[in-house]
């Protein structure tokens, strides 16, 4: 019993990391219909930036993130201006190709600059990397895992409030629903998209910090992180923010169960759940479309 509870608990906390990682991907897709294939690489970029501050300048990651987040936001704004905006005009496929190119460039620049060594932020946060709390029933939870899960909830909740409650959020939603109508309503969609990308990449900075604190990263680690983020987004429903949290948790629990069954099962179980959900979604939307068609034929 305790083993199952532990599995669910650790899986959920792991899912918090995936949700944090996926929030920027989900937000950007929801607002601009862009699938940013450089998402994972940007998280690694943030990880290296924090590592650089800690290693060379002695600035710990918790202080460093205050510097790295705005810088990543600025990077996001620039990326929108020079890559996303142009590629969006060229059709649906071009943003995917150009962000894939961006990921490749980012990975190789990091390799050039930092070499192939595996890095981690864990050495710069004392014992916080492995400190834990004991819960009744012989359960232990890592303090870092709880922090990351909390960050995910705060980020997703914050994005939700931003969209639902603020004037900026209203403008972002309008630009997402109908860019031309938004322009005609007086909304500077170019500015709005730039801000949305900056916000998304700022959340990536937090994900990069979480990645570096709880594990290790290397220059080519971005694609693995992208896969996790993508799976969490698809399991939770593309573009839905709270769905992203659910998707992350489902992925985390699946991986934890998989790891329990077989040492190799960690990744496979996650991929399997992703595929099952993906096929089920396609099937459901197909069936739904079929039912709607039949209804329309009958009433029309």
């Amino acid at each position: 019993m305790s083993a199952i509870a532990n599995l669910a608990l650790q899986g959920t906390l792991l899912g918090g990391y995936y949700a944090l990682l996926a929030s920027g991907l989900s937000f950007l897709f929801g607002v601009m219909r862009i699938i940013n294939l450089a998402h994972g690489s940007l998280a690694v970029v943030a990880g290296y930036a924090l590592w650089f501050l800690a290693e060379r300048l002695g600035i710990g990651p918790f202080v460093g993130i205050l510097v790295v987040m705005p810088l990543m936001g600025l990077l996001g704004w620039i990326l929108h201006r020079i890559i996303f905006e142009r590629s969006m005009r060229a059709g649906d496929l071009v943003p995917i190709l150009s962000t894939f190119g961006l990921a490749t460039v980012a990975d190789n620049v990091m390799f050039q600059k930092f070499g192939a060594d595996t890095r981690s932020l864990a050495p710069y946060i004392d014992t916080f990397a492995y400190d834990s709390w004991q819960l009744p029933g012989d359960l232990y939870i890592g303090q870092l895992s709880v922090l990351v899960f909390g960050l995910a909830v705060v980020v997703l909740g914050g994005l939700h409030l931003l969209l639902a409650r603020t004037s900026l959020g209203r403008q972002i939603r309008a630009a997402a629903e109908d860019p031309e109508a938004a322009l005609l309503t007086g909304i500077d969609t170019r500015r709005i998209y730039g801000i949305a990308t900056a916000i998304a990449v700022m959340t990536v900075a937090l994900a990069g910090m979480a990645l570096g604190m709880r594990a290790t990263f290397d220059p080519y680690g971005g694609s693995q992180q992208l896969v996790f983020a993508f799976e969490a987004v698809v399991i939770g429903g593309a573009g839905s923010l709270w769905g992203t949290l659910v998707g992350g948790v489902v992925l985390g629990i699946a991986q934890s169960i998989g790891a329990q069954l077989n040492p190799q099962g960690f990744l496979i179980a996650g991929h399997a759940v992703f595929l099952v959900v993906l096929v089920a979604r396609l099937y459901a939307s197909d069936r739904l479309a079929g039912i709607l068609r039949a209804l329309r034929a009958r009433t029309g």
Binding site: S167, R170, Q171, R173, A174, E177, D178, E180, A181, A182, L183, L184, T185, G186, I187, D188, T189
Partner: protein, 242 residues
């Protein structure tokens, strides 16, 4: 005083020249009705004025400023607002959100949320409903309200009765009367000729991307305008010459 001056304006609809050398002036406080058959270029002309469509030639001068190359949102900020054909509301957002978005341009003026609710009382009941779930008439009222929230100095109305029931059209025009009373400069594209003539001060007939006739609405009869609709006048003139 001239509020909007259009000089030799050209615009393409895809590969087709849809607006071909259109020139006209509209004085502050006037209402100009654009009439003409489908495909005459009325909608492309309005969209070009609003900045949703690029001009390929000519000039648009708004209250003394050349705005030909300006993006649409900047024109709204200066006070030039379009109610687009097909209404183009944000369907997943509430009526209130749609209207509040209209105020994004941040122009001060007499149009506020309260005044829109007064002018379009049918919106009060559906204030929190999603715009996509409304009837055509309610959607049109929301679309006009959204444009008014920008406190425009010139309002462009494109086919506001398209797809509405006759009763809903009446409702929309009753609400528009308050615009007329406030002497808001308006350019109106409307299929219903009688309404066009009765609602406007001046009328311009478009044919194949050009303005072929223009005059005071009170002075032009329905038959006169109809004659220009499909180029009958020109055909008759050509016959006379032959």
């Amino acid at each position: 005083m001239t509020m909007l001056r259009v000089e030799g304006l050209h615009a393409m609809h895809g590969l087709l020249p849809a607006v071909r050398g259109v020139s006209f002036d509209i004085a502050a406080g006037d209402t100009l009705a654009l009439v003409g058959a489908n495909g005459a270029g009325k909608t492309t002309l309005l969209r070009t004025l609003a900045g949703a469509h690029p001009a390929t030639g000519g000039r648009i001068v708004f209250d003394g400023t050349d705005i030909t190359g300006w993006p649409a949102h900047r024109r709204v900020r200066e006070g030039l607002a379009l109610v687009p054909e097909g209404r183009r509301l944000f369907p997943g957002m509430t009526v209130e959100d749609n209207l509040r978005l209209g105020a994004t341009a941040g122009r001060a003026g007499t149009w506020t949320i309260d005044r829109v609710r007064e002018a379009f009382p049918q919106l009060v009941r559906i204030w929190k409903a999603k715009a996509g779930h409304l009837s055509g008439g309610e959607q049109q009222a929301t679309a006009i309200g959204r444009a008014l929230m920008a406190n425009p100095r010139v309002l462009l109305l494109d086919e506001i009765s398209l797809g509405l029931s006759p009763k809903a059209v009446d409702g929309v025009y009753v609400s528009l009367q308050s615009l007329r009373d406030a002497r808001t400069t308006t350019i109106l594209v409307e299929q219903d000729l009688n309404r066009s003539l009765s609602f406007s001060d001046r009328v311009a007939c478009m044919l194949e991307g050009r303005i072929v006739a223009e005059g005071r609405s009170a002075a032009m009869s329905r038959d006169e305008v109809m004659a220009h609709y499909f180029g009958v006048e020109r055909a008759a003139a050509a016959r006379d010459r032959a």
